[in-house]
């Protein structure tokens, strides 16, 4: 048995939805009834079967449609994929990480055969097969990072480590929550985090940077981040703000359940062996409010989190305009009962 890949859209008619299995698979990010920034980094070790944490790289029912949406974004805006020349070794490190992770976790869909530097990759859901020489860019149809990230869900940034800092020197970013690789490329860790409110003052980035600089090979870590998105749209980039910014004005009390989505990023980081770079993956998940409340615990918790969210955070996440309407819609799912600790459904 394997995954059943759905045919759905993240633009135009927005046919994206989650099956009941995908709802249970969703990485709900709130472990209690309120939210505040924390350096919530934990080891990226296998989680419960069926969860988004089961495998190091998560492939789900949306895979084929995600990859089609990425190709559309790149066709309109090739600058969503950029890599500075000194990152080529890190690009190959990423090819190895993704191909081995995907083929180990989903052997029915992906196969990797290695014989020294002679590699053979088969991607069945996308109908891709290539024999290539590891380390020789001329043997692939795209540069190595672009090649493999056109075949893997989630955005990817490759961070170079030098001078006691991390530098955003490479990335494939087509499904972002309102940030731009083209703007951030070449920036240092604190430069690209500069717009985030509150967190600098409480020292979150000092601690996070120190932690990341010391990351070890074979010890990946992860954290969750979240925001909300109107319509199931993967590409909420600043470049396309004119296409999606006005979506926020279309929310009405009647359509909250279908229009308002919780957007969760499962951010995982690995130290790459040959380049000493770090890969920062940002795997986005979308869930409609109507789907979210099918898990009673999440239905109770979500309005409580939104009610107690600091206004700066609500503004930064861009949800001020429809926050109250969403709380009102969710209110009928909160019977006031206590919720159990942790993120998983009861």
């Amino acid at each position: 048995m394997g995954l059943m890949f759905k045919d759905e859209t993240y633009r135009g008619d927005f046919t994206f939805y989650n099956s009941p299995e995908a709802i249970r698979h969703f990485p709900f990010p709130f472990h209690e009834d309120k939210y505040m920034y924390a350096v919530n980094i934990e080891p990226h070790t296998p989680g419960p079967k069926g969860s988004a944490y089961e495998f190091p790289i998560d492939i789900d029912e949306h895979y084929v449609s995600d990859m089609r949406d990425r190709a559309l974004v790149l066709q309109e805006d090739p600058l969503r994929c950029q890599s500075l020349p000194h990152m080529i070794t890190a690009e190959w490190d990423l090819v190895e990480l993704l191909m081995t992770s995907m083929s180990d976790a989903y052997p029915e869909h992906f196969t990797l055969k290695r014989n020294g530097d002679a590699w053979h990759w088969i991607n069945r859901p996308m109908g891709i097969e290539n024999e290539f020489t590891f380390g020789d860019t001329s043997t692939l149809p795209y540069p190595p990072m672009e090649y493999i990230t056109r075949q893997c869900q989630g955005d990817f940034c490759l961070l170079d480590q030098r001078d006691g800092d991390l530098w955003m020197d490479s990335g494939m970013v087509t499904s972002q929550a309102d940030w731009s690789l083209d703007f951030d490329i070449g920036m240092s860790f604190k430069e690209w985090h500069a717009p985030v409110p509150l967190a600098h003052e409480i020292g979150v980035f000092d601690r996070a940077l120190k932690f990341l600089l010391a990351m070890q090979i074979g010890r990946p870590v992860r954290r969750l981040n979240w925001t909300m998105t109107i319509n199931p749209r993967l590409d909420t980039s600043p470049e396309n703000y004119h296409k999606w910014g006005t979506d926020r004005t279309t929310v009405t009390p009647e359509n909250v359940g279908d229009k308002v989505h919780l957007r969760v990023e499962l951010q995982a980081l690995w130290r790459l062996p040959r380049s000493n770079a770090i890969v920062f993956s940002i795997r986005g998940y979308l869930i409609k409010m109507r789907e979210l409340v099918t898990i009673p615990k999440w239905g109770r918790r979500m309005p409580r989190v939104l009610k107690t969210l600091p206004p700066e955070l609500a503004a930064y996440k861009g949800l001020t305009r429809y926050q109250d309407m969403t709380i009102d819609w969710l209110a009928k799912y909160d019977d006031g009962a206590p919720t159990s600790p942790g993120c998983f459904p009861d």
């Binding site: 500075l84 000194h86 990152m87 070794t89 170079d160 480590q161 030098r162 001078d163 120190k210 932690f211 010391a214 070890q216 090979i217 074979g218 010890r219 062996p273 040959r274 380049s275 000493n276």
Partner: protein, 320 residues
Amino acid sequence: MSAPTEIRVRVAEAEAVTPAIKRLKLVPLTSTPLPDFSGGAHTVVHYTDGPRHVRNPYSLMGSPFDPSAYQISVLRVPDSRGGSALIHDGVHEGTEITITSPINLFPIDRRARRHILIAGGIGITPFMAMTAQLDREGADFQLHYAMRDRASGAYWKLLKSIYGHRVHTYFDDTNETLALTRLLDGQPLGTHLYVCGPAGMIDWVLKTAREAGWPEENVHFERFAAPPPGKPFQVALARSKRTIDVAPRESVLEAIEAAGIEPQFLCRGGACGQCETAVLEADGTLHHNDHYLSDDEKASGKKMMICVSRFEGARLVLDL
């Protein structure tokens, strides 16, 4: 985060490269290959001999492209605290030891258009892996390697045979000196400088480069301090509610580990910052021997790198 991942390995070869330097080839005990690494990375060797535990950092000097084995070089330091001598004398072909997963605190800057590597003595080891990597990646590099004499210098013949004119050697006993000012003069923009060797040499290279106007971010060095011995003292651990004795030839980190507590560490040489510990109370003088804390932080007396720094006085309380 806990201490680094540990890997059990067996010594497959132990070769006396010079009277004082032993090269160890380490292979994994299982069929799982060792992790790939990047030039400049080190591992911490954990060797146990009866009650004595030695944990010393060593640069990985084999090719980063050969995960079947790691290579390190152990210099027998005569006036050391005995750790390097213990490993040098006690480890033979067939000995099983524990090492940590590789960590790189001395990475290549891949933006460089040219790499100038300067090694003194045993400081050659990280450059063994770096040259292999730079050569394979087709980078422009040159190695300048200073040694006491031809007999005590390690690997210089090997390096010359592989990299030819890109390797320059300097022997003290025949009064050959590296003309550093001239070397640094007229290098093209985008040249990066790397130095590893005795403290005096590193200081000299850094100072000369600074005076020649080199940007700090183009100059890289690896400086592991061995924990210096000193007077014994006691340290109270606030969180674990214990008091530990630190012996003259022991570091705080080692004393705490011997008591069964496992603080974080990566380099054990005052460079990486992982074992930074909050000082809650210090009635006496902290001797900061690290290269990590800023002068202001050292003066504040609120932090201590427990891998190399010591204390003299009535009472020291750490947040551990």
